[in-house]
Symmetry: C2
């Protein structure tokens, strides 16, 4: 029987990342492909004890249907977490979602009609592009340097001919680039929107993973116009398998998120919410985050050193001060897919950068994750990648 799918399905594509992840998830792989925390650092013992506690103390609440906005005590704790990064809100303005990824999809649901203009960074998070693609927007992407996006370009787009519906940005240790916007650039970015009706969706799964000092304040902290929707997540600071994230937004916007969430899956797992709530109640999340920060900082350093040693001259890579990723731009226009094909024969993987561009993909870029394994394996894997890149560069130089 011939089947006609909705038109929106022609505008979406499978995630490169998840396909490469599936292929290279075996224990014998050195994988720089994931965006994944190190499972060795999950607080497994405590979660096991807390699962018992939750089922002993609140069995009905943990296993029964729950409210669409999410478990109230958890939303209250999220309000406290938000206060620590300078965002004043209350539990009525928090919607629990099934990972911040769902926050992106619901943002598309409530805001985007086909053809609506969306500003994104260049590069940007590939799964956000994939999620927005279902709503068939037009993307305008903005060049960035080490401080953040090109503000002049943002202004031109915002005051151009087409109205702009929203900007989707990741100011803290961006996936894929690891880039941190400077405070001045954040300020200038937000100011550029004054007088427009353009929303900002600020995705912040990595802000807590600053290697040094306090987590950076999100743009949402300076939002006077209720223009910014903030997306947060426990995936990178606790564990992603529980799939719990949150949205912070104004009342008017929150009412639409509630509605879309209710219609989509009623609510996020009650048990997972209880478990995270109990963890926040009994444990010091900052101590857990501190463990992650120091571990990831060492791994990042190992990767940057190895990249400097093993990759050919002319290679550019970001020097992240937090998060999970560094971003490599290769010399000589080498195609990262070629590297991946060769690397997988030697059981090393990573994600080619192409999928992280909303328009005009740059094929000679790579996203490397440094959080999932120790320094020794990182060095080993980068040595293999470096050799492959040098060989390809030699070949291409000889051909020239």
């Amino acid at each position: 029987m011939p089947i006609t799918f909705a038109r929106r399905m022609q505008h979406t594509r499978p995630s490169d990342i998840r396909e490469i992840l599936v292929k290279t998830s075996g224990g014998d792989y050195i994988s720089f492909a994931g965006g994944v925390p190190d499972p060795e650092l999950f607080p497994v013992e405590r979660l096991s004890e807390l699962a018992q506690k939750v089922l002993r103390e609140h069995p009905a609440r943990a296993l029964q249907y729950g409210p669409t906005p999410g478990l109230l005590p958890l939303r209250e704790k999220i309000v406290a977490l938000m206060a620590k990064i300078g965002v004043a809100t209350d539990s009525d303005h928090v919607q629990i979602v099934t990972g911040a990824q769902q926050g992106i999809g619901l943002s598309g649901t409530i805001f985007l009609d086909p053809g609506d203009v969306v500003i994104v960074e260049r590069p940007t998070y590939s799964a956000a592009i994939n999620a927005f693609d279902l709503f068939r927007p037009t993307y305008l992407d903005v060049e960035s340097d080490d401080e953040g996006p090109d503000i002049e370009q943002v202004r031109q787009i915002l005051h151009g001919e087409q109205p702009v519906k929203l900007a989707y940005v990741i100011p803290n240790f961006q996936n894929p680039s690891g880039r941190l916007w400077s405070a001045a650039r954040r300020q200038a970015f937000l100011e550029a929107f004054a007088g427009t009706e353009t929303l900002i969706v600020e995705d912040d799964p990595y802000g807590q993973l600053a290697f040094k000092g306090e987590p950076p304040q999100p743009i949402k902290a300076s939002d006077q116009d209720e223009r910014v929707v903030y997306l947060g997540s426990f995936s990178k600071v606790l564990c992603p398998g529980l799939r719990v994230g949150w949205i912070v937004a104004s009342s008017e916007i929150m009412a639409q998120y509630n509605l879309a969430k209710q219609n989509h899956d009623l609510h996020t797992s009650a048990f997972d919410q209880e478990l995270i709530n109990a963890y926040l109640e009994e444990e010091d999340l900052s101590a857990q985050i501190e463990r992650l920060r120091s571990s990831y900082a060492a791994r990042c350093q190992a990767m940057l050193t190895a990249l400097g040693n093993e990759f050919p001259a002319g290679t550019r890579f970001t020097r992240p001060e937090g998060g999970l990723f560094t971003w490599v731009e290769l010399p000589g226009g080498i195609n990262a897919r070629k590297i991946l094909a060769l690397a997988m024969r030697e059981k090393v993987s990573f994600i080619p950068g192409e999928g992280f561009y909303a328009t005009q993909p740059c094929p000679s870029t790579m996203r490397l994750n440094f959080s999932a394994m120790g320094p020794e394996k990182i060095e080993q894997g980068i040595a293999i990648l470096g050799r492959i890149v040098r060989n390809l560069l030699d070949q291409s130089n000889r051909q020239v």
Copy 2:
């Protein structure tokens, strides 16, 4: 700042049910409003032990990102559950979702363009209407009797002027009516689609809750054309707070569900999937279902007897042989919202039937849930409702 939401948001509405549930969820209410299992019957102890086991044996798998289609061992167990009700499939054709509700939303995502025609029953599950509304279809609803939908009407619609994209049906102990389609009607229904390109989305959360005998075979069991998408759920046989359901569909359709699911929330909670997988491995789900069946059968009987005793002559109500609900049609055109307003003053609640119609709502109908409390409370609550209905009927008769 003025905000423009996507056009689709004008076509959706908050769920009556969830609003009434929130208002009447206090312990002092006799609530016939929920579609909820009795939390007293949740296997809390076992789930607590299994949570420990899962975190001991598969900590990384339970807490890390997982594959979009879902945990393979769980999908394999679902294949076995499907075989028991006559559906031959394999794990590649199973997609785990965050409750069957998400299966409905994803069906809208992959199939529905604005204006597409959707056949639904009259009445039908209100949250399915709400989920489909986001995709702005045109509904054509089909009258039903105690055996199932009017096949002649289905044929006329299918062979009418407008092409029909899909039919959404709940053949087993339907929410809200409690109706079970006869075997003959199922056969005739499926045959009516022969030669058309119309899909059937079969939602089956209640099939296992037959009070007597084997669970009825879904339409999917007779599907020769890969026309039927089947939605299943653990919410009603185990517990809804874990939010785990599944989709069974052909390869071509499944590829699109995978894509939509990936873009929407990457995957369903890994921990919840592990927990249910462990439960199915170590426990006898049929024994748990047997406990639910016998308990709900007694409660249903108590409700039917009370309705017969307490409600005025001329009241019609279904006599469910499974599931969670009975459906009441009131005499004299009494508006169920009036009854609800009065009942809430006496701490009794239920859901007025209006929200369960895709078109032309009938206001003198009520959905009553019988699964959430014991027979005594049921009798008490129905006595209060019966008195209110009789009073309203008397008033309206006097006015005439």
